[in-house]
Structure formats: C-alpha cells, structure tokens
C-alpha cells in the first residue's frame, strides 16, 4: 500500500517537474512547481522526515513561490522569446540529458542503493520523540557551528539585499517615511494675506 502511494506521488512529481520546464505560461510553470513541492513534501513525510516536509511547504510554497509569482506577474516577462532556444538547442541538450539519466539509472539500478546494504543509521528513532524534536536537539548541540554559520549567511543576505536595492538614484521615485512624518504644516501650507480692497473690487 505504502509503495502504491509512493509511486502515485512520485509520478505526479515527475509530471509536475516536466511541466515546469515545458509550460508556455510562466504563471502555469510556477503553479506546477508548487505542485512539485507538495508532492516532494508528501514523499518526505512518508519517509519519516515530517519536519522537512512541513518546512518545504511552509517556506517554499508559502513564501518563496508566492514571492516568485509576484515577480513573474509584475515583470511581464516574455517567455516566448526566452524559450526560443529550447527547441533549437534540444539536439545537443537532449542527448546529454539522456546520458545523465542513463548514468543515474545505472548507479541506482546497480543494486547498491538497496536499503539493506546502505547504512541506515545506527540511530533507533525513539517512540516518544518525533523527527522534529530530534532534529532540534542535534541542531543546537552537535551542529551548532554550522547552524551559526547559516545565521551568518542570512545576515549576509540581508546586507547584500539592502546594498543592492536601497539606493538613491536621480530620476527614481521613492518615499522617505522619516521625512514624511517630520513634515510640519508650514512646509506644505502657505497662508497669503490678500489685499482687502482687491476683494472688494472684484465683488
């Protein structure tokens, strides 16, 4: 039964991934990617890695792909033009891809990836603790150094993003909230005394 469900998800995954590449509409492609993510998440959960599955859905589907869709819709990319090369270069691309697939099949199919021979890990997963709790306990102890490094990478990402986007350039429109808040009525409103006699004249 598990095997059947596995193959179902796997089949959908491969289909979705193929469609990401071949779909003409970029929004469709993005949606297929979401589908692919969902399927992989399901596969991971089936394998007992429920934390990874949840994170995949939360982060990739929930944040990354939504952002991606925004960008795709905002930029109005002409994918037709981008895709022109796809067929044209297929005659070299395809053989290479085929070769790679065959090689992977050879490696995987050679039987050495049999779970029985692979080191399945000397760790018996305790009944009372889930994958998430275990991951957490390892992350903050044994892997604290890589964990901190990942944090530094995030910091760098923030700095880099700010540096590359936050800048003043002639001719671009931008708002400065600080200056907006600090504005006083004198800056915007000018009261003018009009001579009274002129008013009376006009009347």
């Amino acid at each position: 039964m598990t095997l059947f469900i596995f193959y179902c998800f796997a089949a959908v995954l491969i289909f979705a991934a193929t469609m990401v590449i071949t779909a003409r509409n970029p929004v469709h492609a993005a949606m297929y990617l979401v589908l692919a993510f969902f399927n992989s998440a399901a596969l991971w959960i089936m394998a007992g890695a429920e934390f990874l599955g949840i994170v995949l859905v939360l982060v990739y589907v929930g944040a990354v792909m939504v952002l991606f869709l925004f960008v795709v819709m905002m930029l109005d990319i002409n994918l037709e033009k981008l895709r022109e090369g796809f067929v044209r270069h297929l005659y070299i691309g395809l053989p290479i891809a085929v070769v790679m697939v065959v090689q992977m099949l050879l490696v995987v199919g050679s039987g050495i990836m049999d779970p029985a021979t692979l080191p399945s890990g000397d760790l018996p997963i305790p009944e009372d603790a889930g994958n998430t709790a275990l991951l957490g306990s390892v992350l903050y102890t044994v892997y604290v150094y890589p964990f901190e490094l990942a944090a530094v990478i995030l910091l760098v990402a923030i700095i880099a993003a700010i540096m590359l986007t936050l800048r003043r350039r002639e001719g671009t429109k931008h708002q400065d909230p600080g200056r907006q808040v600090k504005v006083r009525k004198e800056d915007r409103l000018r009261t003018v005394d009009l001579p009274r006699n002129q008013q009376s004249g006009s009347r």
Binding site: L118, V138, I159, A160
Partner: protein, 484 residues
C-alpha cells in the same frame, strides 16, 4: 547519524579566529552605521585591524596545533593556519589598494567592507571545515558575498551581467557540490570527513556510488578554482566586477579554493587518490592549454590576468594531484605566492586608474617607465615572477610544483606545463615591452593614490623579489605543514 549524546562543550578558544572575525565584522556593521564619515574611515581601519588581529590570533592559537572542536565540525592545523593567514593578508592588501578607486566611483560604502569581511570569514570557515556541512556553508558564505560584491556597481551593466552569470553558474556549481556530498552522505551515513575517509579506505561494491559523488564534487571544486572547463565565468566576472572585487576573487578566494580541495578531496577522499588524480590531470591539462592560448589575444589586462589564471590554476592543480606532502606543500606555496603577485598586479592597475578612467587596457601601460619608473619596475618584477623567471618567487613556485609532478610520475605533464609557461612568457613580457620600449598614446595615465597605498604596493612588489631571493623560510613553512 549523530545524536545529541555525542555533544561535548566546544573549545571556543580553538575557534577564536572565526569567532573574533565574526564579532569584528558585526562591529564594523554597527560602527559604520553610526559613523558620519563620508569616506568610511572608521570602517576601513577597523577592517584592517580585524584582519591583522585575526591573523595574529590564528598564528598564536592554531600553528602547531592539530585538533578538532564543535563535535568535529571544526579543525585547526598547520596548513589551515598558513592558508588562513595568507587569505587574511591578501584581504589586507585588497583593502589597502581599493580605497581610492572605490571612493572615486562612489562605491566606497560600509557594505563593501562588511561583505568583504564576511567573505573572509567564509574562507576561514572553509579552510577550517572538517565536516561536509561546514565546508559547504563556508563556501556558500564566501560565494554569496562575492556575488553581491560583483554586483556592487549598480550603474554598470557589465557588472550586473557579470554578477548574474557568476550567481547562476555558482549556484549550479554549488548544486553539483552538494549533490556529490549527498552521495557521500548516503553511502557512509556521515558528514564527518574523518569518518568518510575511513569509509573510503574500505570500499567494496558501493565504490561506484562514491565515484559518482566524487565527480560531482570535483566539478564543484574545479568551479571555485576556475579550472577549465568549469572556467567560463572567470573572464566575464574579472572584467565586469569592480577591480578591487576582482582582486579579492583572484587572490584570496583561490587560497580558499586550495583549502577546499585539501579538506574535501585531499583529506576526506585521500584513499581514492588513484581516481581523482586522473580527473585533476585532465583539468590541469585543459587549464594549461586554454589559459595560455586565450590569454595571448587579450587586450584588456583584467581579462588577460583572468585567462592567465587558468594557467596558474593548472600549476596549482598539478601540485595537488601529486597527492603527496611535497605536492601539497608546493601547491600551497604556489597559491600563496601567486596570489600575492597577482594582488600587486591588480594594485598597479588600481594605482593607474583614475576617476572616470579604468586603466585596464594593455595600451594604458605604454611608456609607464617614463611616467613612473618605480611602478614600472614593480610591474616588471610581477610579470617576470608570473612568467617564472629565476630570481623571483614565481620561479620557485613553478619549480617546486614541477618537482612534485615529476616525482608523482607525470613527466609529460611537467613538460607540457613548461611549454605553457614559455607561451605565457609572451603575454607577460609583452607588458614589459609596452612599459619600457613603447611611447604612450597621449599623456597616458599617471599613478595616483595615497601614500599608504603606494607604500603597501611597493612593499608587496619588493616582497616578490625578496621571496625570490630568500624563498627558504616560506618553502620550509609550507613543507613543514604537510610533513607526516
């Protein structure tokens, strides 16, 4: 798999260089934010202090030590110390040379210092990594900073294009590296390099899986080296990036790449030497061939240096593929001295550059001797060192590498490399000809730069000569680091 039970309190003192550098980088971040100085002077001096102090700490705490901490994810040893100190020193040179250039182009921002410092941190982490995870994170930390730094000059389409290419190809290479690592993890069930090494020594029928992963990892590492055929990004990035960033990528990151190779392949996969040796031979041969031929026809000095990089990477790979202490020592010596020489060469380019003018065409060097005999002489030293003419350090580097290659039984490769070096002499010595025998077109760029910049550059240039005459100490240090 590892459990939390395996945890022991990390020896923070051992990892102090990285911790200190991170703290200093954050300090630069904060100080620069509140500094009103338009030239970011506090950030500059703090950065330089951070590099120097980290180097001092590294030497004091890690030279002569061979220990791991953070549950085996971090290692401190002799050759790591050499590479770290070299990377930090090259960073120091890079900052010293780049201030005027960046200021003239409005690029002298606090972020330049921060990102470069984080890139340095990434190199240090890579060099000290003893775990696939740490190794990968270090490489990524370094690469990410470089992607952003290349793109710094947002008004330059060329820089943006370069950054884009660098980023996409870099991501591809990282993907391959990671894929290869996952193969290793899948086969051995461990991320720890020592465990992987043990497993690699007792391979049976799962050997093919190991090799499969190995190829992917070699590709990932070769990309960082810029070895042919994973080199295509190098000329565009060198050319497009602001010259100081090019300097860092061309120098410090190559030292880190040597560290990456030594940790991942030299150390972790040492039992598979018969396999990866063949791969590296191919990479080295292609690098030597392509580097020398294409560099011949370049008219832009940054591009020329980029292509000639392949040639030198070929030499470094030759040292590495020997897979013996002598070869590793030679490769480290080569990488360090080559990076130092190239740093000075970029320094001269930066010295001649002015506001709104990049002195990166070969013709800009015409008649330099009449304008500035000192810097023409330094450039002469650098070029003959890169060519590998005796008397400069480049000769010893090449000689050590060739010796190791011959000892490893690759005489034909050594012959090919020497032939390549002869071709290389053409394009290096062409610059010498331009400087000394040609008349400049028009006035030609004058050297401009602050006193400190000039002083450091002069010392850097003379160091190439001094090390050429007295290479003994550095050779001894490099060899001692690998002595069994």
């Amino acid at each position: 798999m590892t459990t939390a039970d395996a945890f022991e309190t990390p020896d923070l003192m051992l990892a102090l260089p990285e911790i200190w550098l991170l703290a200093m980088a954050c300090l630069v971040l904060v100080v620069d934010l509140f500094s009103k100085d338009r030239d970011h002077t506090p950030a500059f001096w703090l950065t330089q202090f951070a590099l120097v102090s980290t180097a001092v700490i590294t030497i004091n705490l890690q030279w002569g030590v061979d220990a791991t901490t953070f549950s085996g994810t971090y290692v401190a040893d002799d050759f790591g110390t050499i590479l770290k100190v070299a990377a930090l020193g090259l960073g120091f040179l890079g900052f010293a040379y780049s201030r005027d250039y960046m200021r003239d182009r409005g690029l002298l921002t606090g972020e330049f210092y921060m990102l470069s410092l984080f890139a340095m941190l990434g190199m240090l982490v890579t060099i000290s990594a003893h775990n696939l995870l740490t190794l990968y994170l270090g490489v990524e930390l370094m690469s990410l900073c470089f992607y952003a730094l290349v793109a710094m000059d947002r008004d330059s389409p060329r820089a943006s294009e370069a950054a884009m290419k660098y980023f996409v190809l870099g991501a591809l290479a990282s993907g391959m590296l990671l894929y290869g690592m996952s193969m290793l993890y899948g086969t051995t069930g461990s991320l720890d390099l020592a465990t992987i090494r043990e497993a690699a020594a007792t391979l049976e029928d799962n050997r093919i899986l190991f090799l499969f992963g190995l190829v992917f990892m070699v590709v990932g590492v070769a990309f960082k080296f810029g070895a042919v055929p994973f080199h295509m990004w190098v000329p565009d990035v060198y050319h497009g990036a602001p010259t100081p960033v090019t300097l860092m990528i061309a120098t410090a990151s190559k030292v880190a790449a040597v560290g990456l190779f030594l940790r991942l392949i030299g150390e972790g996969l040492e039992p598979l030497i018969a396999d990866w040796q063949q791969m590296i031979v191919i990479l080295a041969v292609l690098s030597l061939l392509v580097g020398n031929t294409v560099a011949l026809v370049q008219t832009n000095i940054k591009r020329m240096l980029a292509y000639s990089t392949f040639n030198h990477m070929g030499f470094i790979l030759m040292g590495l593929l020997a897979g013996a202490p002598g070869g590793y020592g030679a490769a480290v010596f080569y990488a360090v001295t080559y990076a130092m020489t190239v740093a000075a060469a970029f320094g001269v380019v930066l010295l001649l550059s002015q506001k709104n003018f990049e002195a990166d065409q070969l013709t800009d060097f015409k008649g330099l001797n009449e304008r500035s005999p000192l810097y023409a002489f330094i450039m002469l030293l650098l070029m003959i060192s890169l060519t590998g003419i005796p008397g400069t350090v480049g000769f010893y580097a090449k000689w050590l590498v060739l010796k190791a290659t011959v000892e490893a039984g690759f005489v034909w490769l050594a012959v090919l490399a020497v032939a390549g070096a002869v071709v290389g002499a053409f394009y290096y010595l062409r610059i010498v000809r331009l400087m000394y025998f040609d008349k400049p077109e028009g006035a030609g760029p004058q050297p401009s730069g602050s006193g400190g910049f000039r002083a450091v550059l002069t010392l850097n240039g003379l160091a190439v000569l001094a090390l050429g005459i007295f290479p003994g100490a550095l050779v001894a240090i490099c060899m001692a680091a690998f002595a069994p």
